[in-house]
Assembly symmetry: C2
Homo-oligomer: 430 residues x 2
Amino acid sequence: MIVLNNPKENVLLTALERPQLEQRDLSELIKEVFDSVRSEGDAALLRYAEKFDGFTLTDFFVKESEIFDAVNGLDKELKAAIAQAARNIEEFHTRQKEPIQKVETMPGVTCWRRSVGIDKVGLYIPGGTAPLFSTVLMLAIPAKIAGCKEIILSTPCNSEGTIHPAILFAAQLVGVTKIMKLGGVQAIAALAVGTETVDKVYKIFGPGNQYVTAAKQYAQTLGTAIDMPAGPSELMVVADESANAQFIAADLLSQAEHGNDSQVIFLTTSDALILEVKKEVHQQLELLPRKAYASKSLEFAKLIQVRQEQLVGVINEYGPEHLILSTQYDDQLVESITNAGSVFIGKYTPESLGDYASGTNHTLPTNGFAKMYSGVSLDSFVKKITYQEVTPAGLRLIGPIVEKMAAAEELTAHKNAVSIRLKELRENGI
Amino acid sequence: MIVLNNPKENVLLTALERPQLEQRDLSELIKEVFDSVRSEGDAALLRYAEKFDGFTLTDFFVKESEIFDAVNGLDKELKAAIAQAARNIEEFHTRQKEPIQKVETMPGVTCWRRSVGIDKVGLYIPGGTAPLFSTVLMLAIPAKIAGCKEIILSTPCNSEGTIHPAILFAAQLVGVTKIMKLGGVQAIAALAVGTETVDKVYKIFGPGNQYVTAAKQYAQTLGTAIDMPAGPSELMVVADESANAQFIAADLLSQAEHGNDSQVIFLTTSDALILEVKKEVHQQLELLPRKAYASKSLEFAKLIQVRQEQLVGVINEYGPEHLILSTQYDDQLVESITNAGSVFIGKYTPESLGDYASGTNHTLPTNGFAKMYSGVSLDSFVKKITYQEVTPAGLRLIGPIVEKMAAAEELTAHKNAVSIRLKELRENGI
């Protein structure tokens, strides 16, 4: 951990810089996989699953019976916990529905917009050490509320060809329509270009390693939308002397355990608190099963003391994915913060709550993207179509304005489309 | 114009395919310009303005006095028309504001989200034959409503080093904070990487030629957000025998005059109407100043007769940027349409109204992107930050759920962040 007490402006700015990740150029590999999937379809998917992941599959769609077994076999308490989290997430995202509001901008000129679910979406859930069923909830619940008709989930299976029952349970609970046992580049390629059995989707969501990220970026260049650019997860905790050092240490560690490249920043007005937090982190770290990951990312963790009047500036300059506030002036901070993904307010609101169950979405902008991107929400799964309907009386009011503007932009046919209608109204005495 | 009467499924699908645009590989040129702007700043901008556009500039920021002269010199009626259009656009986009709604997903667990304007945005307005002041309104008005602090507009000047007064008038009317006389790749580079005088922006909006489009795409790979992928403009008109052939012809021509590559599709249940519309198009075309452009794009225009029950399927398969409905069952169509940018309902609602003044935005998804992208709206200029605040009582309810889920995902530190707080509550008898 790197401690900075009242650093100068330039030192502070350097400390807040994200590390430049070494990015291998994967473009040739990605293009090869996409091209093969496009030309050979399922056969290419099966071949790559064997080549990259060591799975020999004959069929990559999860069967009803597999879901049935998973649902029956899963620990009851875990099922109840997942179901409650799903209800909270559903409640929060349902409230994001936008009612249709008809706006009469001029008498007889009525405009409105309507949200319509994206017909076909693909959700990618990474494999790896832990079964990320929480991400299934975070992506599939808003997709369902949005009215997406096809919700295709893809996740790699283990060496026995099976998927963790908690993922299958979560997927069936929230209405995923199809589950594929495919991981990595070939999964994204299947969703982006389609095969004889996989429907091409319009938008792909979900986290993943550098291969998945590069494949999503390539899919975007082909015209498939993606949720947002990806980067390592981040947490910034902001606290004053009223905060609890044990809690802060636990929060910093919850971020650090994600992986070697997790970004962990502690910002405080109190140098005493930095010492306490540091001590607590060392103590709590010892007991963690994922100590190896956490230690690595903690090496680069920054504990920074600044003056109270600097806090807002530093937060907004960094734009953290997750921001925990534990000060006596949280309310004031909340008002002034403009760049953050999700904010956790007060001593009893650890990031973990939002990661799993409070109701907010855990798919959030990293890498400073909070400056211009929102996290995933209901909005991410809909398009908003605009409508307008104009009466003859409305056209007589707005028509001359449009004629004037179109003429000034030298678009005569645009003007004519109005003039020809106004002429008809005059001729018919309407 | 290509006429298809009741085509077979495969012929119909082929007719609806967008032409594959020949895309020159501009990546080397774009990278060179971006690199030079990054290393040399304004000097590079001035050099490229001279090299690519033939402008010798010493200063590329528009001065107060230039705006003053433009505002005073511009035709009064045009100013009044622009001001009324601005009011309508403002009214419609203001109603898109989302009030903060606090949602208690469980007792003591409160979640909400807040929209915050993107601090710095760049708006690109192309030069060329006509001054696109309407696009200034469409981009700057929602930016202002969103609360964007810096709204930088860039547009190429003419050979005298000046910008059309209608663009300057529109820009000052709606609160653009800075105007730059820069076009093409160097304008996008300046906005994306910044120079000693130009602030790097977080998101770039606006139409442009293939250079501008490629530069925006490159900026996106560097971490600057862009409004949406670009493509040639499109109009689909859907009508039955109740429609007016003259109006339809005028609408098709208003789309065709945009440029050689404009997409024009007329879909109807009536073969008689196709013949009438065709005749009308030829007659009206003769009188257009932009006849050359319009004729070229009309060569590929499709006039298609289908059965009534096919209409919705064809519209949604194509996903037009602009859709005009003129049938006796417009209301039913509106309910069933899921893929379109903006819809114009009824005989007296030509596309021109939305292009300029009805209130809806004219920056819309082309190229079938209506399947997954919305047009520009207030949403495009904000990020939605989520918040949660949990009371001790709330934590006692939600805590065990999160502990269970975190343990199942094998993220022990996530679990600990909750457990350590629950323990403190127990110890303090809260």
